[in-house]
């Protein structure tokens, strides 16, 4: 029972992903939705690292770097969009966004 196998890490990643998904669905503040995306990306990273350990190859850890870069790029663009929306609407809630026109 006390032996930690790969399944445990995969289960933890599954729970973490589900929490991120749940938060993404129930929260309306765009910033917190972004944090939930980060949670989901980190869950995927954990599965990559666990698989890397399981198979004894380094490729999983290299893949984590690509996920990390994509996450950083996504946060930069996303936060810039949130800031420019906030200038017009003075709210970060996604419920008030009903215009494509700026």
């Amino acid at each position: 029972m006390f032996e930690v196998t790969t399944d445990w890490y995969l289960s933890l990643a599954a729970v973490l992903f589900s929490i991120g998904f749940f938060g993404m669905m129930i929260r309306r503040n765009a910033l917190i939705m972004f944090m939930c995306i980060e949670l989901m990306l980190n869950a995927v990273n954990l599965t990559f690292i666990a698989a890397s350990k399981h198979f004894g190859t380094i490729d999983g850890q290299v893949a984590v770097f690509f996920v990390l870069v994509v996450a950083a790029a996504e946060v930069v663009v996303g936060l810039a969009i949130i800031v420019s929306i906030f200038r017009k609407q003075s709210s970060a809630s996604v419920d008030v966004l009903n215009l494509s026109r700026g």
Partner: protein
């Protein structure tokens, strides 16, 4: 037993941090919950022999990305009164149902697959250490094309962020 505790303690901290992220009402508290999750994940990475990834996780995620988040939170102000009224009827209930299905499916796959879906690999007995040398050796040979493409992505993202943040009206007044 020590191995079990080394898994259990960071894993619980990961989940506690994740729950703070989705349930706390003050955005600064959410950000701190995310920091807790990221640092605990770095500890788990170390126990999985991925030392360099753990280091990068601390520097890039817990350092740079979270600083960016906190900057934006401070910039647009902490609005605590998020509408708790559902704009779609029965949304929370529906999402909880979907969540239950998702979580049971994911854990079922995680426990039962035992990686039998991929017969090209077999679980190995020896351990590899995720040192910078080993990672760089793979990254700059087998993964060199994705590496170059991802550098273009970073340039594009930086340009896009500048273009979005550039306020044309305000600029014209100053000139």
């Amino acid at each position: 037993m020590v191995e079990f505790l080394l898994f259990l303690v960071p894993a619980s901290l990961v989940l506690i941090g994740a729950l703070i992220v989705i349930f706390a009402q003050n955005p600064v508290h959410n950000a701190m919950g995310l920091v807790l999750t990221l640092i605990s994940l770095a500890i788990i990475y170390i126990t999985l022999n991925a030392t360099f990834v753990a280091m990068v996780q601390m520097l890039v995620y817990a350092g740079a990305v979270m600083t960016l988040f906190l900057f934006v939170i401070m910039m647009i102000g902490v609005d605590k009164k998020e509408q708790s009224k559902e704009s779609i009827k029965g949304q929370t209930l529906l999402v909880s149902g979907v969540l239950l299905v998702l979580i049971s499916l994911l854990i079922y796959v995680a426990i039962n697959s035992n990686f039998t879906w991929d017969l090209w690999f077999e679980a190995v007995q020896f351990d590899i250490e995720g040192t910078p040398q080993l990672i760089a050796g793979t990254l700059f040979t087998a993964w060199i094309l994705p590496f170059e493409i991802i550098s273009i992505l970073l340039i594009v993202a930086t340009t896009a962020a500048i273009a979005l943040a550039y306020d044309t009206k305000k600029r014209k007044q100053h000139v």
